[in-house]
Amino acid sequence: MVPLNWYIGLSAVMFIIGVVGFLVRRNIIIMLMSIELMLNSVNISLVAFSHYLQDLRGQVLVFFIITVAAAEAAIGLAILVSMFRNKPEVHMDQITEMKG
């Protein structure tokens, strides 16, 4: 039997990899993918809890999280496309017009 702590540990490690990827990378597409990685790690944690506590509500929440992640990925990419049309730059540290 796999202990529940292992699933939560795996979810924590994946979440931190997503956080570090979001903070450190310059390319905005990789940043958006790090957000998806964070959401997936939380999904793993929720399904593990739902299995071990024998309750289905964790999986229903995973359903909604997948829905919201899809909507947010679509809108994030639409924002990227419209920003790229203004100024053809995908590196987040070069976009400084609103600074200061």
Partner: protein, 171 residues
Amino acid sequence: MTLPQLFFGYFAAVMIVLSLLVVTRTNPVHSVLWMLVLFFHIAGIYLFLNAEFLAAVQLILYAGAILVLFLFVIMMLNLREELTAKRSIGGWQIGVALGLSILSLMLLAINKFVQGPSGQYSIEAIRSVTHTKAIGGVLYTEYLFPFEVASLILLIAIVGAIVLAKKSKQQ
């Protein structure tokens, strides 16, 4: 190490390696492809946890729709300079140190976890009616209002994506 623990060990090790590969590749297309393999492994973990419907939904939605959307946008942007540009921002060591400190806090907290009371959807009860039917039973009775709100969120995403990305007349 029993066989389930060995299976989980393979999945966990490969998933951590794959997530590191996703966030460190120079070419964004390589990142998306490693993420595709990662989503297959996540679906495998869901199967391991008796959640067949969620494994199928994960593959269809995440691997089949969201990653395809990412690939469309990457290929539309069509950047060749990405292969030689700098990958990380200037102070990336601080980011990694911050991440490692939060991870150590999380791993310390996990060991102190105390399991709460069990619900009524045991594995045998889910297996007798199939998992799809069990989730449907909960989703359409107890969580009907969030389900309708989720459909509104998807409508907003459709309308918003078109409004944001549409070319205006003078462009």
